[in-house]
Amino acid sequence: MIDAKTLVIIPAYNEQASIARVVNRVNECLPAADVVVINDGSNDSTSLAAYEAGAKVISLPYNLGIGAAVQTGFMLAQAGNYDIAVQVDGDGQHDPSEIEVLLSKLIAGESDVVVGSRYLADRGYVTPLPRLLGTRILAAYVSMLAGQKFSDTTSGFRASNKRAIGVCAENYPADYPEPESLLTFRKIGLRVSEVPVHMNKRYGGKSSITPFWSAYYMIKVVLAVTILALRRAPQTEDTTYVY
């Protein structure tokens, strides 16, 4: 691609079955990019599998949650002065060959963050009905609060430019970060756009989404974005991490 310094951030929690394949695919698709796997306190050999696949591995001492894991990646991207950071899930549901779709949109300018959306176009992703309903309601609510139409607010398949990297390194929600971060971006004045992507079934491991946790997720996220909407835009200068 062009010579933008790119870091691919792959958060992984107990993904030993899929992580090597994800890392390999990313390396094939973006040979010039650096790849970091953030092992979020896994109990299996995620670290070793990722390391042997050629990724840089940050092992968090205990499970911090997906948001904090991704934020660690952004902290690295900021400290390493990267131009672009790409988030790809460690479970294999994002197709690394589509990173290029995100990047070309980002490089075209006019966006600080590009989100890969499952729902923007029919790309063969079949969502179970209750989940589809949940994601639709959430998308509608977040869109309303953000004042911009988002079709897929829970997508963790994203590319961020330098400005967005700085914002994410300093201010990224902890538990279920995707919908909240969209609102944060809008509040700070980052330009967010979506591009259609398709999502795979997971290569291995198991999803953390069960009916109970889905309900908890919905309530928590709705509460979090509502409060976030009432909050002032975060000051992006007040916390600086120095290594």
């Binding site: 050999s45 070793l48 840089k56 591995v57 092992s59 001492p61 934020q71 660690t72």
Partner: protein, 125 residues
Amino acid sequence: MFTDRLTLLVFVAALGLLLLVLEMVRRRALAEKYSLLWLIMSVVILLLAIARPALDRIAPILGIYYAPSALFVAGFVGLLVILLYFSAVITQLTREARIAAQQIGILRERVDELENGGQHFSDDK
């Protein structure tokens, strides 16, 4: 001083709590800053229990017609304040622990890279 048994009971309990908190602070089992709310609450209840005439005057104003119940109201409000305060403390601690863990993760990778080229999985579970 104690016209009823309930007030006496509350007095004894509040005194016990006060002494327990002071002893825990003395043994460093409780930090001074976290003991403050407990001390204030036990002293207030203690004073209300002793000053029965004052309690008899305050309680009706609050719509409480059995005066010693006001002691429980005071205790309940005190506990709510303490719980809320500690929830805020936990939030702060969680944030600090998260930042520390993130820094440890980043630094550990750097140390391992400098020492032996990145392999650092001996301590993984």
